[in-house]
Chain length 373, copies 2
């Protein structure tokens, strides 16, 4: 059994990109993808997975018949120590490969200095308008766009989330309040719960004893409070209607962000907010893009903890300090709604044919039939 795939970097993630008609249906993929990635195995040594959450990701692309959508894409977070697939959320970084893939494969013909590709994430229903730099109507031979957290250049991709509020829960503020109180670890925490791009619960860094002026020390302080932070996150899952009980809360959503205003005016020129995000229970090395969309709308919404920190004074751009550098998000009017976005870079690392000699049972045979159709 052989499966064609492109291995692409999207932002700060590595993503395996498949075309839907190469693969089987959803049931097959729950067994096929873990085997392709080498799971279950903490090292994923016999598969294509990279044994970290940011390198065990798959994207499945399709060209819908519908007008107005160029590419449908489905994100799969492939388990590492477990042979599971989490279909519950999108990955903003991997989203950045979709427009580039469409141009490289000829699905979309580039035109003008920027080519627009309308994409739709099927996990969340989110429309993401992608803009790929194509000076003089073509991808540059040598990509030269840089971004924080990636030491090598790629193609610049703007990701605009069309009207992202409430895509998971139905409302930007799922609890109806801009600020709520959650009790966890014997303490009451003032948080904001927002749903835009992804559901996120925002905790104030000061409440965790983290010094806003010493961002470089946050990681050590956060590592010591992961249990409490997960309790807050699970409480938020229930409050946002994402899980019936704290025990039933998924690991992937909601995400949790720790935030503080920069300490002084010089620092405030460089960033509007200092932020550290947890992903799958661990501090994220950069920032989940979907989370940055949530933070951007939270900062624009009076009454949230982020609005208090920024004073609601930022313009169209919001600068977020992350462990990997400052990330800037933007907002603009589009199609009578609001586009909330961020710029990433993307690049194709390798064009591959994955070998999978084992028989995987009937589920895999269905997938095999799909792959050879």
């Amino acid at each position: 059994m052989k499966i064609e795939a492109e291995w692409m970097r999207g932002g700060t993630s590595k993503c395996w990109v498949f075309e839907a008609d190469q693969l089987g249906d959803g049931a097959s993929l729950d067994s096929l993808l873990p085997r392709v990635f080498g799971s279950p195995d903490s090292r994923q040594i016999d598969g294509v997975g990279g044994a970290t959450s940011t390198t065990s990701k798959a994207m499945i692309l399709d060209r819908p018949a519908e007008d107005g959508i160029d590419v449908d894409f489905t994100f799969a977070q492939v388990g590492i120590e477990e042979a599971t697939v989490d279909w519950g959320s999108n990955c903003g970084n991997c989203s950045a490969v979709v427009g580039l893939y469409a141009i490289e494969k000829g699905w979309v013909v580039p035109g003008g200095d920027v080519t627009k590709i309308v994409t739709r994430n099927t996990n969340t229903g989110q429309i993401i308008v992608q803009r790929v730099a194509t000076p003089a109507g073509a991808l540059p031979i040598v990509p030269d766009a840089q971004m924080p957290g990636v030491p090598f250049p790629g193609y610049r991709v703007g990701l605009g989330f069309q009207d992202p509020a409430g895509k998971t829960t139905g409302a930007l503020l799922p609890t109806g309040s801009a600020t709520d109180t959650i009790t966890a670890g014997g303490t009451r925490w003032t948080v904001s719960m927002v749903d835009a791009g992804a559901p996120v619960v925002i905790v104030r860094a000061e409440d965790l004893g983290l010094d806003p002026a010493r961002y470089e020390n946050w990681l050590a302080g956060v590592e010591l409070q992961l249990d409490t932070l997960d309790q807050i996150r699970r409480q938020a899952a229930v409050r946002m209607g994402l899980a019936p009980t704290t025990a039933a809360a998924a690991r992937a959503i909601p995400k949790l962000a720790i935030a503080a205003a920069p300490a002084d005016s010089g620092d405030r020129d460089a960033a509007d907010i200092n932020v550290m995000m947890l992903s799958m229970g661990r501090p994220h090395p950069a920032l989940a893009i979907t989370g940055s969309i949530a933070l951007t709308l939270a900062a624009r919404t009076p009454g949230t903890v982020l609005h208090h920190m920024t004073g609601g004074t930022q313009g169209a751009a919001l600068k977020l300090r992350t462990p990997a550098g400052v990330l800037e998000t933007w907002t603009e009017e589009n199609d009578g709604g609001l586009l909330v976005g961020v710029d990433r870079t993307a690049r194709t690392i390798a064009t591959t044919v994955i070998h999978l000699p084992e028989a995987l049972g009937s589920a895999a045979e269905e997938a095999f039939a799909g792959a050879t159709r």
Copy 2:
């Protein structure tokens, strides 16, 4: 720029396999390979490297004109946080891909139930006779051989190191003694230094305060003594003639092995020796194959610390307990000399074309010329 490569699992490593005529000369590769792998970057996020020592490895294969050798291969340990390549040693796990590659590419026609491929490692000059299981004269469609440390099956490959003693230093016992005393961390250590497959210094587990009966506790104890162990290793580098001073000792050689006899007779049935090896300053998750060859000859050599532990009573097979399970080595007469070997499994994960759009300067252009010749 595009480079063809096979991504293969060899034993407990993932290895990127290139054909020499696809690449440039040695000078080019010192800049080309780090860029291909995404180095320098602790995450290797923009390249094919897996950001760990066992997944940042390249093999370069060639078909020599000489009679008697089917495949020449060169191993490259590609730096992760530094844009460097270490050409100083071979990797036994990656060696296991060479015979399989030769059969899959038609370089060697399989014959009989076991196909023999004579390979030569150019880093060390070591001849490795590989035997790949080819029942009825062909690779099985579905590989089914298992090995410790790998949760999925592969093709069985026997790796026989022909007369491995002294390939790096000229002698099995580079100091002339089977046992020596080294002073490090204010303590005198009784060690054996042997060169076979790779140079290895062997330390007794008891001397480190590790309980032979509690192998599962070794890792924690070793982690606390990494500094002292590196001092021992550096002293050994000088004593074996591998470095002029301890400061100049390479990180890769000699390797260091910690060993003890199993605690009781039941345990002794399962393994002849309990061993934990350090690689690049860290405990190895399984065992460096080249190191296991050294341990096998050490156990057969009167006067070494290993010979004391086994009583020199083992037969052709030696069972080594490692963190990933028990590894069995074997010895046999071959061509008037001694073949020391171990069985691994190997598998091709993906057939790839690596994309490398950036200009890399003149060195890369030479490689580019090579790749397009």
